[in-house]
């Protein structure tokens, strides 16, 4: 579910941009440490594979067909951090080239699908993959789609997008159905891949087990929060969202409040725009700093 621009309220997208950038930076750093240079073309080609895989339809019911989403599959074959990297690139290319999802909402979409989606998909495999391989893979693929969808729904509700309760429930049911399909497809494809070459699907690594378990647990907790937010009464949530939005705006405005003198004409807009631009500048500064730090680490 790619959220277009102007569906999320400024505090929501700005916050998610600010969260997504350091998390992607962290994952890129981890992927850079794990991979040697020979694997860089592989990541790009695997991203292209996920795009191409959408051309192959899976029969799922009378007259309907589904296709692979791919976050969990990438995590099982490439490892979690490279999979987050590849999914981030996929979501960004979908936004810029295919107009699928917004540019300001890119942080939200990356967070939902690439960061939380992939990590939630890897987590069950990491914890139970050794003994219950197939159920763990199914659970992972199911979670990756379900959690991304619920998060998107929760973010829309937080932004005050009107949705009747029935629609929220129907969307959740649809997410659950496509999550189950993703689980079935992922298991089938992974088994077929392993038949071709067992080396394609490495067993979960024993190292950095704790961090990943924590990250995965956090991802699932966040997903559960999104689920709860989405399934709770929309009216109450909308009010909560407005309140949260308001508090977030006030926080954003606080450092700039004194500078708005003389701007009393439409000062609300000026302040909101300034806050938005300040948020963007902040995001830019964070990502630039992360990038510089990454380069320095790589060359050191």
């Amino acid at each position: 579910m790619h959220i277009p621009d102007n569906f999320l309220s400024p505090p929501v997208w700005a916050t998610l941009d600010a969260i997504a950038i350091p998390s992607v930076g962290l994952m890129v750093r981890q992927a850079g440490r794990q991979l040697d240079d020979t694997r860089i073309p592989l990541l790009g080609v695997m991203g292209a594979f996920v795009f191409a895989a959408q051309m192959i339809n899976f029969p799922v019911g009378i007259g309907t067909s589904g296709h692979l989403v791919g976050g969990a599959l990438l995590a099982y074959t490439l490892g979690p951090a490279p999979a987050v990297l590849v999914m981030t690139v996929i979501v960004a290319i979908q936004a810029f080239v295919f107009q699928d999802g917004g540019v300001l909402a890119l942080g939200a979409n990356v967070f939902n699908m690439a960061v939380v989606g992939v990590l939630a998909g890897y987590w069950p495999y990491h914890v139970w993959g050794a003994s219950w391989r197939r159920p763990a893979m199914f659970a992972g693929a199911f979670l990756s789609v379900m959690v991304s969808g619920s998060l998107a729904l929760g973010e829309l509700l937080m932004s005050g997008v009107a949705m009747p309760r029935t629609m929220v429930l129907v969307s959740l049911a649809l997410f659950a159905a496509s999550a189950a399909i993703e689980g079935a497809i992922t298991i089938g494809v992974i088994q077929a891949i392993a038949k071709l070459d067992a080396g394609f699907v490495p067993h979960p690594r024993a190292s950095n087990r704790r961090t990943l378990a924590i990250l995965g647990g956090a991802a699932i907790a966040l997903g559960a929060v999104g689920f709860l937010v989405a399934s709770a009464a929309p009216d109450g949530i909308q009010r909560l969202g407005i309140q949260l939005g308001l508090t977030a705006t006030t926080v954003l405005h606080a450092p700039l409040a004194d500078y708005s003198m003389g701007w009393s004409v439409e000062s609300a807009w000026v302040r909101r725009a300034t806050a938005g631009l300040a948020g963007l500048l902040l995001i830019y500064a964070v990502s630039a700093a992360t990038a510089r730090w990454l380069v320095r680490r790589r060359s050191a």
């Binding site: 277009p4 192959i56 029969p59 107009q99």
Partner: protein, 236 residues
């Protein structure tokens, strides 16, 4: 196909094509932020922005009608939510959702239409995106259509062999998983071949553009002008 269209559009030589990618990305961000904070009832402001976009499309010598049709990909999503907002008694909000999401999509499509993707990615890298991310994006875009075509060939070949039509759903499902696994293995092999070929051609670990763009005074002026215009329209 879509990519052929965008690639052809982005090869133009209009003043907009010649601007540095960074200036265009930043101008897009300013536009999107200003648009996102425009209240739904500011019809005149929204109309001015639409006119500005149309003018920019004409300056860039892109086909206006085609681009506006392409941007309609966002409408199914927007219209669904707009309908709900309308039914919930917020017609103004419904209208704004459709207008603003459509204008944003046109703006992004305009950026992609006047900037070839390698330059766009180069601009993002010089604005601070991690190098590894940009490198993977370059590879992905390069092989996106190669692999899509391969998948289409496989689908066609399966259809020619009757593709399991008439068989039970489970067996068709299994044959689709097999097709994906083959595509996966071929992509994997292709990636290894690509890397060897690139090493043989002296790949140093990063792409370098033949004509590296420089941020000139004109680019700065363009960015300032666009931002000032957008903000003045919004205030006025």
């Amino acid at each position: 196909m879509h990519h052929v269209l965008l690639d052809r559009w982005s090869q133009g030589a209009s003043p907009l094509h010649r601007r540095d990618a960074r200036a265009k990305i930043l101008a897009l961000l300013v536009f999107l932020v200003v648009l996102a904070t425009t209240p739904p009832n500011a019809v005149a402001v929204l109309a001015t922005y639409a006119a500005l976009l149309a003018a920019a499309i004409l300056i860039a010598q892109l086909p206006l009608g085609l681009l506006m049709t392409r941007a309609m990909v966002v409408l199914p999503f927007s219209l669904t939510f707009a309908l709900i907002s309308w039914l919930a008694g917020e017609p103004l909000r419904a209208l704004a959702l459709v207008e603003k999401s459509y204008l944003s999509t046109v703006a992004v499509l305009l950026l992609a239409g006047v900037t070839p993707l390698p330059l766009l990615l180069g601009g993002l890298e010089r604005l601070g995106s991690p190098q590894l991310l940009v490198l993977v994006a370059q590879f992905l875009y390069r092989y996106l259509f190669v692999l899509s075509e391969q998948a289409q060939h496989m689908r066609l070949a399966a259809a020619c062999r009757n593709g399991g039509a008439g068989h039970r759903r489970a067996s068709r499902f299994r044959s689709a998983t097999g097709a994906l696994a083959v595509l996966f293995a071929r992509s994997y092999e292709r990636a290894e071949g690509i890397h060897r070929a690139m090493l043989a051609r002296g790949f140093s670990g990063r792409f370098s553009l033949l004509h590296a763009q420089r941020f000139r005074a004109g680019d700065g002026a363009f960015l300032l002008l666009v931002s000032a215009f957008l903000i003045l329209v919004r205030l006025g």
